[in-house]
Amino acid sequence: MSKLSRRSALKGLVNGTAVTVALPFLDCFLGGNGTALASGAPIPVRFGTWFWGLGFTPGRGVNLAKTGKDLAFLEECQALVPYKDQLSYFSNFNTPLDGKATTVHYTGWVAARTGSVPNTGGDLPAPTIDVLVGDHFGAGTRFRSIDLSCTGNPRDSYTGRNTGSRNAGEVSPLGMYTKVFGPEFADPNAATFTPDPNVMVRQSVLSAVGEQRTDLVKQLGAADKARLDEYFTSVRQLEQRLELQLQPPPKAEACRIAKSPGEQPMGTELESVLVNHELMSNMLAMAVACNQTRVFNMLYSQALSSLHRRGEAFIHHTLTHEEPLDPKLGYQAEVAWYNLRSFEAMATFIKAFASIKEGDGTLLDNTLIYANSDTNFAKLHALDGIPVFLIGKAGGKVKTGYHIPGGGDPISRIGLTVQHAMGMEVDKWGTQSMQTSKPIAELLV
């Protein structure tokens, strides 16, 4: 969006006439990456993440002996069996620390999502992969990204550009509904489209906000200047999305307006997490099908998962450390029970995307979901072999149904593969020992 167009929008308003700026809409929206709908219109490719905490019990998730097309799930991952052909699993990809100390339940997910190892807890050394993909997609949809957290706490959201710029999660199903499907939702399949004059005014307001220079910057240091730059970028992004709302949305065949979920109890009680996760997964899939966003993040449980059953003194995380091995079973039975719930939730999430028809396939076929945890064996905070799944076919850009053993390669290879699948011109990704220029070629089409 050029400076000129913002100015003209404001000018137009001052003169009492709205000036709509013709965007090369579909180009911008599709990022040159789409397949086609039955109608012949191209379908955008989407990217999102799904997170669950505390991994799984080694030897009870995926059969490590069966690789390639022989991907085979064990007890804790049984819920994924129906989607075996829709996803790939990555084992034995490592997180070399280059001498940095780990912050337990933090280093793992940061490395998996940024390709860099954090220096301390709370440090986000590089943008998370969803932010990079979102930058590549550009401001083509109403929302930059839809970020959701099922734990009731907006801080439980593993996405951000840097330490001072983390994206908070929406925690309430009703809040999410209102944000996406509330009064400002424009049905892409509606017969007529009338630009909302209030949106015109809003857009001109933001245009003015973005235009007005500030002299705050003059005595500040580089870090603060970067913060101001980010501020103005944020203003421009929102402004561009408003511009989009002033034009008829492209048709979305699969789009149906979701039903309001009503007020739901929130928090870390497993019962309410499961309800909220399912509600928000279904609404999210529909929001994606309705082209409200192309990027999304869903957090089912935190890395330091405090999910707990009503009446239980122990949270999932505490159990991973303190529950003794069941002498007969040979594993932590309660922990295994929680792990089962995690993969059932993952299956619920996949199902939400897989059950929406789009073009000749499903929404899942046009989506790529990067699902990861923070640790392999939570009891010992194992950082090597953090479980990662890639789910969906990314509009035909990736193959699915594989078990890819990493042989100790850095976990950043998976993130680089994602970027290639999204059509990003990136030759290497990650820092220090995590830097890689080797995507997993056998998965890329």
């Binding site: 930059r144 840097n162 933001l206 240091g221 944020s234």
Partner: protein, 545 residues
């Protein structure tokens, strides 16, 4: 003669008792994002407390123990900006709606269905000065009026236009960031000082946690804040105001990390008495106790850790198992002699906040006392620790937290940290995960003996007494208040001023309002110079009155 008098006043104000304030190196300017509490307070103060601020704020990361410091490094990214935009539109439309416009818009348009330059100008001149914490420049005022006129014309409603223009102001960086602006210091060639407006903001957010009021802005505009006596007059006025209690409440809420209460949950089956209302009341009980003892009655800060006096409400009575004579509201309460609820660190809010949803945690509590009350950093736990040793909570051998932690601490990589946390936390083990008193755990008697930096004690009252005598406790308050006021991570260069303030605090009987006065009247508090990596041609015009 007048000059001499002024100098004398300055002397009495700052150095009447004790050593002279040390000179400290000027720090770089800070650009602090308004915290959620500040945003709410400013909107309430400027537009009235019946303006509803719905929706969530993007969180600020805690840094150096404070959100107020994290605010200096937190950006406004896309997600945060979207939220601010939503808040701004909601606030602006309430300010200009039919219920409020007669009070909040000081003039009437000639025609309510059309633009009105004069009325919009009056509105933004007044409102803008409070929101930007300085008078608007002519250009800024023109832009606001133009926007209001454009909206009014487009939507044929003066107030809707006003509202959309106000919403623009509420998302501008001048409002959302409290920024230190500098000017040349006429008394020292080549040196800088904070502009009077920036000084006013610094004092106001320190003492009242809000935007400067008219009197303070006027003092800034008249140049009064550049003289010791002018500054002292304003600081004295603000410390004497009942608003100091509001400001200090915000400070302690930040220092004690009480924002975590917003996500605090207790398992309703295990702790049926600790329902949602108890969570909020438990926070309120501690803050009310603190404000009463440190601000209202100006008591010794250290008494907070030995106090038995507090307030009680019916839902908290269920948690503490004490009678409450009124079903609604608060009543004064004093824990009887012999009761282990002694000091705020033993109150339900504190021990429940630093616990698990269904269990107490000696480690979290010990860590909280060390980090929050004593400003000491407890290292993060190492990775790869095998907890199997202490794993079985139903183990007939390890019935109590003390026994389990003891077993755990035999691991040398863990022992070091646990040694500084556990003797504090285990003393609070008579309070379960919801702060309810208990004698035993799994049928075994709980041993509450412990030790703090060489002072041994047998119960929570002893811990309170040890905290009250520990020099790190008041020093921590000084450090946090100073950091809260400046919004920056404390550096070793600040050590001399902190030491100086600690000594004065001690001499003044550890009275918080006196400490605030010392900070707000110190030179160091306002020592700011352009950032080292700022452009060499640093302009001095920004924010000049």
């Amino acid at each position: 003669m007048r000059r001499i008098l002024l100098a004398l006043t300055a002397l009495t104000a700052l150095s009447a008792c004790g050593p002279k304030e040390p000179v400290v190196e000027a720090a770089p300017p800070a650009m602090r994002r308004l915290t959620e509490e500040q945003y709410r307070q400013v909107i309430a103060d400027v537009f009235g407390d019946d303006i509803v601020i719905g929706g969530r704020f993007d969180p600020i990361n805690r840094s150096n123990g404070l959100l107020a410091v994290g605010a200096s490094s937190t950006a406004i990214n896309g997600s945060a900006f979207e939220r601010y935009d939503g808040l701004a539109r909601s606030v602006a439309s309430q300010v200009t709606d039919r219920a409020n416009r007669d009070v909040l818009v000081p003039c009437k348009p000639a025609d309510a269905a059309a633009a009105d330059d004069a009325c919009a100008t009056t509105f933004f001149k007044n409102t803008g000065r409070l929101l930007y914490r300085r008078a608007l420049t002519d250009a800024e005022l023109k832009t606001q009026v133009a926007l209001a006129n454009a909206g009014a014309t487009k939507l044929k409603d003066f107030y809707v236009g006003l509202s959309s223009s106000l919403s623009a102001m509420l998302v501008r960086p001048e409002f959302l960031f409290v920024t230190d602006t500098l000017e040349a210091d006429p008394s020292k060639a080549g040196a800088f000082r904070l502009t009077p407006y920036a000084k006013a903001a610094r004092v106001s957010f320190l003492l009242w946690n809000t935007t400067p009021d008219d009197a303070l802005l006027t003092a800034a505009e008249k140049g009064d804040l550049n003289s010791s006596s002018g500054l002292k007059k304003q600081v004295d006025r603000m410390i004497a105001s009942p608003r100091l209690a509001v400001g200090m409440r915000a400070f302690f809420n930040d220092m004690l990390a009480f924002d975590a209460f917003e996500n605090l949950q207790k398992d309703p089956v295990i702790y049926p008495a600790f329902g949602l209302s108890a969570v909020e009341l438990a926070r309120e009980q501690i803050l009310t106790t603190i404000i009463d003892q440190t601000v209202t009655t100006q008591g010794d800060y250290r008494n907070l850790f030995t106090t038995r006096k507090t307030v009680m409400s019916a839902p908290l009575g269920l948690v503490y198992r004490v009678p409450v004579s009124q079903p609604d509201g608060w009543v004064p309460y004093e824990f009887p002699e012999g009761d282990e609820h002694v000091g705020i660190q033993s109150f339900a809010g504190f021990v429940a906040l630093f616990s698990h949803p269904g269990r107490s945690s000696a480690t979290l509590r010990g860590k909280a006392v060390r980090e929050i009350l004593m400003c000491q950093k407890v290292p993060d736990p190492p990775s790869g620790v095998d907890f199997t040793l202490i794993s079985d909570s139903h183990n007939p051998v390890y019935k109590t937290a003390r026994e389990r932690l003891k077993a755990h601490s035999t691991d040398p990589t863990c022992a070091g940290c646990h040694r500084i946390m556990d003797p504090i936390g285990l003393t609070l083990e008579h309070f379960d995960g919801a702060g309810q008193f208990r004698d035993d755990e799994n049928g075994a008697a709980i041993d509450t003996s412990g030790e703090l930096d060489g002072v041994a004690y047998t119960d929570a009252a002893g811990l309170g007494a040890a905290l009250a005598k520990n020099a790190a406790v008041p020093a921590c308050l000084v450090k946090r208040l100073y950091g809260y006021g400046t919004g920056r991570i404390s550096t070793s260069a600040e050590k001399p001023i902190l030491t100086y303030l600690e000594e004065r605090f001690a001499k003044e009987g550890y009275r918080v309002p006196e400490l605030l006065r010392d900070i707000a009247l110190s030179d160091a508090f306002y020592q700011v110079a352009p950032a080292a990596d700022a452009p060499k041609t640093a302009s001095l015009e920004g924010g000049k009155p």
